[in-house]
Amino acid sequence: MTCRKVFPLIDDFADNCLDESLKESVTAHIDSCKKCESKFNETNRLKTLLQSLSVPYPGIMYFNQATDLILSRIANDSRTHEGVH
């Protein structure tokens, strides 16, 4: 396999989405090509970095209040619709 053929497959290879025969060919190429190996490693490092993204926990009180608001809005909306019909 050539770099030109391997390059568009690197994302799927990093995501483990290639079928077995293609995976073997890409593995063999990456093992012998520094440039493609570097692209593959860079993709993996980006994936690891993105996986670490977390968001601040707003607290259980927030979730309970948000749930109450959602349910009361739905109840009000249902009452309004019943009133209309």
């Binding site: 980006l46 670490s52 926990y57 749930t67 959602i70 809005r73």
Partner: protein, 187 residues
């Protein structure tokens, strides 16, 4: 006895309010976490959560297969988040400083922090990743978040975003190429 999600969804579709409330409690954290990563702040994430469940309730007739409730929910949430991002184009989110939120605990935390230095460094890293994602157009950003951050498969992302898997692949490739350039110093 544990009630399974399909049973709750069936109950909800048939008009059981208690089942809907149980589904809200079950999925609210997941929707909040994904919404926060898309819109980048608490106030907008809250708006996405509220609107998502309200819209899902009103669109329950569109839920053809109870198996796909989670996908349906995520689709409504991402569509609303895209609308919000487009409405705000050119405006910065109102509350990008997350330090004012109660608790240092992170939702779906991947990296545990202990010392103040580690906490500071982790916060800076999270801000950098978020800022990098914020530079992407909405659909590339959401594809990267759903696939690379939240761990959905390409087939799931395609269902959520109502597009072919080839489009997911293409958006993901472009998003990763841009993110590699922006986050080069971290790679």
């Amino acid at each position: 006895m544990t009630i399974q999600i399909p049973e709750l969804v069936r109950g909800f579709v048939e008009g059981d309010e208690a089942d809907f409330a149980a589904l809200v409690r079950m999925f609210r954290r997941k929707i909040y976490a994904t919404a926060h990563k898309i819109v980048g702040n608490h106030l907008d994430a809250d708006e996405v959560v509220q609107e998502t469940f309200f819209r899902v309730y009103r669109k329950k007739e569109e839920l053809k297969n109870v198996k796909y409730f989670s996908t349906f929910l995520m689709r409504v949430a991402t569509n609303y988040a895209i609308d919000l991002l487009r409405r705000q184009k050119g405006h910065k989110g109102m509350d990008n400083d997350t330090s004012s939120l109660p608790g240092a605990v992170q939702l779906d935390l991947a990296k545990r922090v202990s010392t103040p230095e580690e906490e500071f460094e982790n916060k800076r890293l999270m801000e950098e990743i978020q800022a990098a994602l914020d530079r992407l157009p909405p659909r590339q950003k959401i594809t990267a978040i759903l696939h690379d951050v939240d761990g959905h498969t390409k087939a799931e992302v395609a269902l959520i975003m109502e597009c072919p898997e080839a489009t997911v692949r293409s958006n993901l490739h472009i998003a990763r190429t841009k993110l590699k350039r922006i986050l080069k110093h971290r790679l």
